[in-house]
Structures are given as structure tokens and as C-alpha cells.
């Protein structure tokens, strides 16, 4: 049995054209590569400190 209200929660408002610029600026562009690079840099730094 489908619950209308529950299913309705799955629907979100779509972005309008006017909101596109703001959405782009707020978009999180972090990825795994950045994480890996960060980890590697931290390890290098630690090794350099040691």
C-alpha cells in the first residue's frame, strides 16, 4: 500500500533558472581524489616532521 505522504517526501522542488548560479556556487566539488591527495600530503608532512 502506497502512503501518499511518505511518497511525497521523496519529491523535492526543482531548481529554477534563477537559482542556477547560487546552486553552482554552493555545489560541493570535493571528490575522492582530493581526499587521497590530502591524506598523502598529511603523511608526507608527518614523515618530514619526523
Amino acid at each position: 500500500m502506497i502512503n501518499f505522504d511518505e511518497e511525497l517526501k521523496k519529491f523535492h522542488p526543482s531548481l529554477e533558472v534563477e537559482d542556477a548560479e547560487r546552486a553552482i556556487h554552493q555545489h560541493d566539488l570535493s571528490d575522492m581524489a582530493d581526499v587521497i591527495v590530502g591524506i598523502l600530503k598529511d603523511e608526507r608532512q608527518q614523515s618530514d616532521d619526523e
Binding site: 542556477a20 575522492m32 581524489a33
Partner: protein, 527 residues
Amino acid sequence: MKCYNCGAELSEKNFCTACGEDVSNYKKVIYMSHRLYNDGLEKANVRDLSGAIASLRESLKFDKTNVEARNLLGLVYFEMGDVVGALMEWVISKNFRSKKNLADDYIEAVQSNPARLDAINQSIKKYNLALKYCHQDSKDLAVIQLKKVLSQNPRLIQGHLLLALLYLDSEQWNKARREVDKVLVIDVGNTMALTYRKYIEDMTNTEDEEGSSGKRRKNDQKVRAADSAVTYTSGNEVIIQPADMREPRGASSILNILIGLIIGVAVSYFLILPARVQMARNGMNEELKTIGDNSDAKSARITELEQNVEALEQEKTRLQTAIDDYTGENGESLKVDSLLQASKNYLDNPDDAGALADALYNIDKDYVDSLASDAYRQLYYKLMKLAGEKVASSLYESGSTSINQSDYTTAITTLEKAWYFSSALEEPDPEILYLLANAYKQAGETDRAKQTYQNVISTFPQSEAAKKATERLAENGDSADEGADTSSERQSAPAQQQTQEQPADDNVREGNDTDSAETTDVMPAAE
């Protein structure tokens, strides 16, 4: 693939040949991103857009600089009706690679049609409004709004799904199924659509089982009817037509058009045309009536004017006649002039009776007696008295001479003039009239002669002239010998010319009281 540390191009080694940095894990991440991109591409090729989105997002989580994955993701968003999401991905992609990037073409394609972009934007706003209606429990308004949205943007999957949900809530299974099918045409792997479809099948199957045989038969009939009919939507309309229906094409459509034209013409001819004709007739009748009224008025006016003209013509004739009477040949002014001339002649030479007589002779005696004024009449008779007797006597002699000379025409003229003057006297001389009658007779004017004899008899019944006239009248077939009768014998006449002797019973004047022989100037016999 470039080194994350120095940016140098990486080789197949697990370290950067430029900076020596360990890139094995980095490479794994990048490879994973590529693998996921490939997976997403495969799914997109089979229209599993939801699966493609998941794979591509994962790919971008591993490597945000994977431009191909981002471009493809934007493309998938665009196909699903999320234009803004697509533009976002392409803009970010362009940010990572500004040159030689497919995202440029995609962005250009969208921005080159601003009207279409605006329509899509409006549809998104209406979708958001419909979603708000759903949260406010205004489901009917939401349905209406969603129908408008989907008419503008038919590929908006979220709109179809929301509408399907609303139909499911109101148990409109067929409508819900239609919306779900539309979603699955665009995105075959859409989880929500598949869920809804399964739910619809479960619900409809359950209703079939609960129904009686009659219902089953009905449903069978419905199914058969459904089998024999094709149902499809066109915009907001649901069209159901027989499966074996064929669209009329070519000659049949032209024939249908011709039949329609004929029917239209017939309807116009039998229904519309008579009313128009009647209206036109009524209008014409009104005009004719108006024209008739105007014509009658003008005819009456014309008649009135004609009567006026006739009256004026008569008045003009009368006035012209009056003018002619006054100024014409025998006009009053001429008569007045004649009297004045006579007066002048007398005043100039009182002894010249001839000139006076000439002037007086031009005046009509009837006019004097009937129409002339008293002053005019008195002056006329005064002048006549002064010269009339002398002139009459002189002319009588002259007339007698003319008769003796057988010049009857001259004699008539002279004697008429003599009688004119004598008749104006208090005691006219009947012998003159008698002699005139003889002249008429001699001249062959028998009727005038008889008339004059009768005039003598009636005017002077006791006179000798009357006796002679009576004798003349008693004679039948008088001959030319009676021309000798024209000589006159006047006992008491003034000095006369020597005339031929006449028979004793003719032209003897008796009773004249004048014995004096006056030697006056004799009027010319012939004038």
C-alpha cells in the same frame, strides 16, 4: 592523467616520473571514476537514466575533473527534463576545461532558444507550485497544475511521477498507469515508476479477483473492448479509437471535404439565404416607401407650382392685354393722343375744320361713349360740335360727287366719314346715311346696303330718307341703273358741287333746316 603534485603527465608507473610522488592510489581513484563513467554510459545507452545518473555521480565523486562524466550527467539530466541541473553540470564542466569541451555546444544549444528556455523555466515553477499544492492537500489543483506543466515540458519525469502518485491516491489506476508508462518510456530503470507500476498491477489484479463472474465478464468485455480499441493521450486529452480504424487519407478525405462543402452550401441556401433575402426585401420596401412618400410630396409641390404658374400666366396675359389696350395700336393712349392732336389743331387754326376733323376721325366713337372719361367725352363732343357739321356737309358733297363719278369705293369711304361726324351731332343728317346705303348698293355690297337702309328707317322713321329707304328695300333685284340714284338733291343743303340729276324719288332730302350756302373748304373725297 596528470600528477596531482606537479601536474606532469603520468606514465604506466605507480609514481610520477617528474616529482617521484606515489600516485598508485591516485591512479586507482581515477580508474574507478573512469569505470563508473563507462557504466553510466552503458546505462544511458539503454535508457536506464536513473542508473546512469547513479553511476555518473559516483564517477564524479571519485574524480570531479572527469569532464566526460559531467557532460554525460548533464545530458541525462536534460533528457529527464531537469534543464537547470543539466546547465549546472555543463557550466562546472566548462570551468574545469574551458576549451575543446562539448559542454560549450550543449550550453549554446540551450541558450540559443530563449523562448524555449523561458517556457521550461515556467514549467518548473508550476511544478514547484503543484508540489506545494500537494503539501497543502489541494490535490485537485495539483493535478490541474501538473497537466499544464507536462503539456509544456513532456519529459519532466518528476512531474509524471507526481501526477501518477496523485492518481494512485485517488485510485485512478488507468491514468496512473499512463503516467508511469510515459516515465518508463523515457527512463526504463526508474525505480519509482517501476514501484508504482507494480502497485497498480497489484491493485488492479486484486479488484479483478474480488469481482463476480458478471464483473469478470464485464471486465472481459472491457478487456476485449480494450483489445479492440487503442487508447492514447494527446496533450490533456485521452483518445480511444477502434484498433482497426484507419485514418482517412487522400481521395476519401477530399470526398469528405466536398460533402461537407455541399452540406454547408445547402444549409446556407435553405436556412440563411431566405432570411437574408427577406431582410433585403424589407429594406427595399422601406426605401420604396420612403421614395414614394417623397415622390408624392414632390408631385403635390409640382402641382401647386404649376397652378401658381398658370395663375401667373393668366395674370401676365391680363396685364399684357391691359398694357396693349393702353399702348397698342388702338390703345387708350393713342386715343388720348388723337383727342389732344385734334384740340391742338383747332387751337392752332380754328378755321381749319379739316385738320380738326382728321384728328377726330381717328377716335373710336364707341370708346368715347362707353369707356372714356367724362372729361374726354365732353371735349370730344365739344370739338365735334365745332367742326362736325361743316365737315359732314363737305364730305357729303364729296361723296355725292364720287358716286356720280362711279367711284363707289371713294364714295363709301367719304360718306362713312361724313356719317361719323354727322352722327355725333345733336341732329344727324339721315340723307348721309341714305346716300351711304346707295353707295353700298352701287358697289355691290347688298347686305351692307340693306342693313344701312334699315338703319335709316329705324333711326329716322319720319324722314324722307326713311321713305326712300323703304322703297329701296321693297324693290327686288335692283339693277345697276340704280347707280343713277346716287346723285343727291338737298333743298336746304349748303353750297354744293354740281351733281348729276337723279330720279325724283331718290336722294331727295327734305326737312333740312339749313339754307345758307356755306363755302367751306371741301374735304378731299378720297383719303
